[in-house]
C-alpha cells in the first residue's frame, strides 16, 4: 500500500495512492492532481547520512567513514511533492541529493542488525538540498547548510516495507529539467539499512515516523531558479520539485 498526506480544502487528509498513482480519500473518492497539495508523508526525527556511498565520498575527496556519519534536520525544512524550494540570492553552489528514505514503523531501541528490518515501516524518496557556500567546520554539515526552510522535499508517498522486495538494490536517479544528472544504486551503500537502524537505536529510541535519509551517490550539480528537479528511487516513487529565487519565495511568505 502507498499512503500519503495531503492538504485539501484547508484540511490535512490521510489518503492512499492507487496503482495509477491517483490519490484516494478514506471515503474512496479519487482526487484530481492539482486539486490538493502534497504534504510530507511522515512526521518524526530526521536523520541524514553523509558520505554513505563510496563513489560520493570520492567525489567530495573524503575517505568513507568508519562509522555512520549522521546529522539531523529539523522539520521546518520538510516540504511535500511538487512544491518549491528556494535558492538564497548570491550563493554559488546549491545542489540536490537524491536519497532513499527509510521510515521507522515501530519503536526501536538497541535493535540488532539481524532484527533491524522488522522495524522498517516503509520507504519514500527524499531530496536533501545543501547550500555549500554555508559550510563551516563546526557540527559539519551545519544546520544553515542543511536544515533550511523548503530544503527537504520528501514523498510523494510512503510505500509499505513489504512492497519493496530488496531495498538494497534500487536505482536512484536525479534529473534537472529532464536531463539525467545523477545515477546510483542502493547496493553501494557504505552502511546498509539494518546497520543504520542498529547504530541509531543503540544511541537512542527510534519512533514510528522517524526518517533515515540513507545518503546520496555521486553526480551532484548546481540548481538555479526555474529548474525542475526530479529525484526518483526505483519502485519507491518520483519526487518533483521546482527551484525558485529567494525574492519570489519572500513574496509567497509575506502573502500569508
Amino acid at each position: 500500500m502507498k499512503s500519503a498526506r495531503i492538504l485539501f480544502n484547508h484540511e490535512t487528509l490521510h489518503v492512499t495512492v492507487n496503482e495509477k498513482d491517483q490519490v484516494v480519500t478514506q471515503e474512496g473518492k479519487v482526487l484530481e492532481e492539482g486539486s490538493f497539495t502534497w504534504l510530507p508523508p511522515c512526521d518524526g526525527k530526521i536523520f541524514v547520512l553523509a558520505i554513505n556511498y563510496a563513489d560520493h565520498a570520492a567525489e567530495l575527496s573524503f575517505k568513507a567513514p568508519d562509522e555512520p556519519l549522521v546529522f539531523l534536520k529539523n522539520n521546518n525544512s520538510l516540504i511535500g511533492h511538487n512544491q518549491h524550494t528556494y535558492r538564497p540570492d548570491n550563493v554559488d553552489y546549491m545542489h540536490y541529493e537524491c536519497e532513499l528514505v527509510v521510515v521507522i514503523g515501530k519503536q526501536a531501541k538497541n535493535v540488532s542488525v539481524d532484527d533491524a528490518m522488522d522495524y522498517v515501516g516503509g520507504y519514500t524518496v527524499g531530496n536533501d538540498y545543501a547550500i555549500r557556500d554555508y559550510l563551516e567546520n563546526y557540527y559539519r554539515p551545519n544546520l544553515r547548510v542543511k536544515s533550511r526552510d523548503t530544503c527537504t522535499p520528501i514523498g510523494p508517498y510512503l510505500v509499505d516495507a513489504k512492497e519493496v522486495k530488496d531495498p538494497h538494490n534500487l536505482v536512484l536517479r536525479t534529473y534537472i529539467n529532464g536531463e539525467l544528472k545523477q545515477e546510483g544504486n542502493t547496493k553501494d551503500l557504505v552502511f546498509n539499512i539494518p546497520q543504520l537502524i542498529a547504530y541509531l537505536s543503540d544511541i537512542m529510541t527510534l519512533s514510528p515516523g522517524d526518517m533515515i535519509f540513507t545518503g546520496t551517490p555521486e553526480g551532484l550539480a548546481d540548481v538555479k531558479p526555474g529548474d525542475v528537479i526530479t529525484t526518483e528511487v526505483e519502485g519507491v516513487g518520483v519526487l518533483k520539485n521546482t527551484i525558485i529565487s529567494e525574492t519570489d519565495y519572500l513574496k509567497t511568505i509575506h502573502k500569508q
Binding site: 526525527k45 567546520n137 559539519r140 544546520l143
Partner: protein, 245 residues
C-alpha cells in the same frame, strides 16, 4: 503566568497557573511544550576562550562565522522530576545549565529588534551531554541519548522577566551548589539567537531554543544516584534524579 503540561492517564494536559506554588512539582510534569528543541553551541565566553586556539587548527581551521547549532531530538525531552538515565560505559556525563527561550508564534526572518515579539517566555533546560572531544561533526552521539534534555518545570511569560540577558544560573548537585554562570556570558544574546535561527528556519509556537551552555568542567559531572537541579533567577528550578541507563 506559568504554563505547564501534566500527564493525566497518559494524556498530556496543558495548564496555566497564576503563581508558582499552584504548580504541583512532581514527576507527572512533562516538558512544558512538545516543539522542536534547537541549541546554540559554543555560545559561552569562557568556553570559547578555552577553545580559541583549537579553532585555528585542523579540522576547524578558523573560528565559527555564525552561531553553531544542534538539535535535541524528541527522545531526549524530559519533564521535571523524571530520571536522567546515564550510560556507564561512555565516559563522563555532564549537566548543561541553560536558559530555554520558548517561541510563542510562527517566526520567519525576525529582526533582533522584533525578537521579543515572537517569544512567549522562558524555561529552564538541563542540556545533558557526554564529553565532546571535537566540534567538527554533529554531536548526535553526545547529545541525543534518551532523557538527555530535561526541560521545565514551566514556561514563565516574558513580561515577568526583566532582562533575559542577565540571569544567574546555578547548578546544584545533591543540595550543593557546584557551578554558577549568567546569561550575560552568552556571546550571542537571546534576541540575536532568535533572529539568526529564524533567518533560515521557521520557528513555531512551542519550539524551544537553548541559549548556551558553559564549559563542561568536572563540577558539572552527574552520576547515578545524584540529584541535579538547575536554578535560574526569576525563571524556576528544574530538578531531576540521575539513574543508571
Amino acid at each position: 503566568m506559568f504554563y505547564f503540561r501534566q500527564k493525566e492517564s497518559d494524556i498530556a494536559i496543558e495548564k496555566t497557573a497564576q503563581t508558582r506554588v499552584e504548580v504541583p512539582l512532581d514527576d507527572a510534569l512533562l516538558p512544558p511544550t512538545s516543539g522542536s528543541v534547537i541549541g546554540v553551541a559554543l555560545n559561552d565566553k569562557a568556553l570559547v576562550q578555552t577553545l580559541e586556539k583549537s579553532f585555528h587548527e585542523k579540522p576547524h581551521v578558523q573560528p565559527p562565522k555564525t552561531p553553531v547549532l544542534y538539535i535535541k531530538t524528541d527522545n531526549t525531552h524530559l519533564g521535571y522530576g523524571a530520571p536522567i538515565k546515564v550510560p556507564t560505559d561512555k565516559g563522563p556525563v555532564y549537566a548543561g545549565p541553560a536558559l530555554g527561550i520558548v517561541i510563542g508564534k510562527t517566526a520567519t526572518r525576525v529582526s533582533t529588534e522584533n525578537a521579543l515579539d515572537v517569544i512567549q517566555g522562558f524555561t529552564v533546560v538541563n542540556e545533558v551531554s557526554l564529553a565532546e572531544t571535537s566540534f567538527y561533526r554533529p554531536a548526535v552521539k553526545a547529545k541525543c541519548r534518551d532523557t538527555f534534555c530535561p526541560i521545565g518545570p514551566w514556561i514563565i511569560d516574558k513580561e515577568s522577566v526583566q532582562n533575559p540577558n542577565s540571569l544567574t544560573i546555578r547548578t546544584v548537585i545533591n543540595d550543593q551548589q557546584v557551578h554558577e554562570t549568567n546569561t550575560n556570558q552568552l556571546i550571542h544574546s537571546v534576541e540575536e539567537i532568535v533572529s539568526y535561527i529564524s533567518g533560515f528556519m521557521t520557528l513555531e509556537a512551542g519550539d524551544i531554543l537553548i541559549a548556551g551552555t558553559p564549559l563542561r568542567s568536572a563540577e558539572l559531572e552527574i552520576k547515578p544516584g545524584d540529584s541535579v537541579m538547575i536554578d535560574i533567577d526569576g525563571i524556576g528550578q528544574l530538578s531531576n534524579p540521575v539513574e543508571m541507563e
